[in-house]
């Protein structure tokens, strides 16, 4: 157990160091006006992105452990040579918020040491961790036909793969503790630029760290916190950019967001427009040219991911948007499958409803009712209580006005598209800054009673969020500390656990056929073929059901078949079939060896 933990921690330190090393390469693109905190946060976040991109490009040719080590070594050596860039970061510490932040990160780190569990409803198990495992096993990064989300922009997942290659299965899960730290750091840096002092910036970080809606999007495979860190980094660089090279750096960060999640394709052009437009002080032509530079840098940065999809899957955005799907042949999807996929996406994105009234009620619903749409306990009451005061108090600062405008754009786009709470984390970062600006202003103006009320509002925000957070992670904490409980959880919460144990432990099993689409292939350490994916992917046009697959089984070359009873289907292999020999059986699960004639 201890060896596993040390290995996971060591891998995380090494990858973080490599990310810093990659980040030093584009430090000249940062505006000189950046604070030291912002500079180091942007170096780390940008370096994380560049590391992922480099691994992705290299991985198209080779993605073995030695390739990963080689790329990481390049980053680590850069970090050593450029270590002077990180010297002199002295931050004034504000005790209470620093303790809150420390507790959240420590909680995330310890809980991250629990072995992964979950079924096909757990995003990490269904796709975020599947890609890294399969790519490393295959020694190359390729689309996984039965898993469409593995072909989404996968910059963070590629870093997960590097962590897995160097530190084992737990290393990617543990990384949430420092990737969340990156988001908190850049949000604090934005706060610093908006007029807060260093002590108040700690409150921004504490407020963010205890937002349930944010926290749930930052661990167990969720990549939304990293995505938000790229966006906040981009916004900070974009609003401070004065020279062309600064806009290249800004565009690079926008590209990293596009290489992480599809929603950035809509968000990035809007952010670029906001950051390029400088009001009356800039000529239209200058604004257009800086916007063009930033957009070009963004598209070049994200290019490899979309180009790979275009070449291998026939469409840069896979699966394509409904309007484009009519004109494209979408690999591994039937028309019905795509329709089901879109219906699922629309259902997930319904959130808090549409229409002007729903939009006006967002401040209320985001504060008090986010659990209604996977919001995980909301964002605390401080943003609602102080956000508008902060905006009013700091309105004279152009940076603050532009930040508010970008926040409005982010929330409007989110409202019009996919209303999943964790897609709004970058906006939560912005309103946390306004909340603390407002709290500061209110404290200065109010009397004793007012100050007490304000303190109470902040305390409630922190305490409520933190309590929910701890409550949700108690099982993980327990599993991290108790191997017997971890084993019990695996047995009870991993579907077909006994079968996976057999598959992974038997040397005669070389390739498995999973007939049921609900089987979480992540748990298989052996090569597998899954003709029907979770999101209605279909590998063979002429095989619409598991029974259509069985006559073709020899062409798929499995050594064994896992046949199960699930909510989707019953056993598929007929009893006493001469082609299959039953080698393992438990209630609702059977493993057959395939007899080749």
């Amino acid at each position: 157990m201890w060896l596993t933990i040390i290995k996971a921690i060591g891998a995380n330190l090494f990858v973080a160091m490599a990310a810093l090393g990659f980040g030093t390469w584009f430090a000249p693109l940062f505006p000189h006006s950046l604070s030291r905190l912002a500079r180091i946060a942007c170096t780390a976040i940008g370096g994380f992105g560049l590391l992922g991109l480099t691994l992705f490009v290299v991985g198209q040719i080779s993605f073995h452990r030695w390739t990963v080590w080689l790329v990481l070594l390049v980053g680590a050596v850069s970090a050593i040579f450029e270590r002077k860039q990180f010297r002199g970061l002295l931050v004034t510490i504000s005790k209470v918020p620093a303790i809150v932040v420390g507790c959240v990160l420590l909680l995330t780190a310890i809980a991250g040491l629990a072995p992964p569990i979950g079924d096909w409803n757990t995003d990490g198990i269904s796709y975020h961790y599947v890609g890294p495992k399969v790519w490393l096993r295959d020694g190359i990064i390729r689309p996984i036909p039965d898993n469409a989300p593995a072909s989404y922009p996968s910059l963070v997942e590629v870093v997960f793969a590097a962590l897995r290659a160097t530190g084992g299965e737990q290393a990617p899960i543990l990384s949430a503790s420092w990737t969340l730290g990156l988001l908190l750091a850049i949000a604090a840096a934005v706060g610093l630029r908006a007029g807060l002092d260093e002590r108040s910036c700690w409150w921004v970080a504490a407020l963010l760290a205890t937002m349930g809606a944010l926290y749930e999007g930052s661990h167990s495979g969720f990549i939304d916190a990293v995505y938000a860190a790229f966006l906040l980094g981009a916004i900070h660089l974009g609003l401070n950019a004065t020279e062309k090279k600064h806009f290249v750096g800004f565009g690079f960060f926008c590209g990293l967001a596009m290489a992480t999640k599809y929603p950035a394709l809509v968000t990035v052009p809007s952010i670029v427009l906001c950051c390029s437009w400088r009001g009356k002080e800039t000529r239209p032509w200058t604004a257009m040219s800086t916007a063009a530079i930033a957009l070009a840098a963004a598209f070049v940065t994200a290019g490899p991911i979309y180009l790979r999809n275009w070449l291998l899957l026939g469409t840069p955005i896979y699966p394509p948007p409904p309007a484009a799907a009519a004109y494209l042949h979408v690999k591994y999807f039937t028309t019905e499958g795509l329709t089901s996929f879109y219906q699922y996406a629309v259902w997930r994105g319904n959130g808090l409803g549409r229409g002007p009234l729903a939009f006006l009620l967002l401040p209320y619903n985001l504060t008090y009712h986010t659990a209604n749409f996977h919001g995980a306990g909301g964002i605390g009451i401080a943003p609602l209580a102080f956000g508008w005061i902060g905006l009013a108090a700091a309105w004279r600062d152009r940076f603050v006005r532009m930040l508010a405008l970008i926040g409005l754009v982010l929330v409007s786009i989110w409202f019009a598209t996919m209303q999943e709470s964790r897609y709004l984390i970058s906006f939560y970062g912005i309103i946390a800054v306004f909340a603390i600006l407002g709290w500061e202003a209110a404290r200065r103006a109010l009397g004793k009673r007012g100050k007490f009320l304000c303190g109470l509002a902040v305390a409630i925000s922190l305490a409520y969020g933190f309590t929910l957070m701890v409550k949700s992670r108690i099982p993980d904490l327990r599993a991290a500390c108790s191997p017997s409980y971890a084993h019990y959880r695996q047995e009870t919460e991993i579907p077909y656990w006994n079968s996976f144990n057999y598959i992974n432990g038997s040397p005669e099993v070389t390739r498995v056929l999973f007939l049921d689409r609900s089987i979480p292939a992540y748990y298989s350490d052996k090569d597998y073929v899954k003709p029907f994916g979770q999101w209605w992917e279909q590998l063979y046009v002429d095989a619409a059901t598991p029974r259509d697959i069985l006559p073709k089984i020899e062409g798929l070359h499995p050594s064994h078949v896992l046949d199960v009873i699930s909510a989707e289907s019953g056993f598929q292999i007929p009893a006493h079939s001469p082609q299959y020999r039953l080698v393992f059986e438990r209630p609702g699960q059977r493993i057959y060896q395939v007899i080749y004639r």
Binding site: A358, N372, A385, A445, L446, A457
Partner: protein, 56 residues
């Protein structure tokens, strides 16, 4: 300088500030009370009301 010493002007300039402070205090108080009503007491009344008017 003279105009600032006029009593009616000084009253007028204080009014918005005082009003603003009362507004801020009441607002913060309301958000706290709403938190206890909606989240702590677990009341579904507000949610039910919002559903009725079609906001969700």
């Amino acid at each position: 300088m003279l105009t600032q010493d006029k009593p009616e002007h000084s009253i007028n300039s204080r009014l918005p500030k005082k009003f603003f402070l009362v507004l801020v205090e009441s607002w913060v108080f309301t958000t706290i009370v709403a938190f206890f009503v909606v989240r702590v007491l677990g009341s579904n009344l507000v949610s039910h009301w919002l559903n009725r008017i079609g906001a969700r």
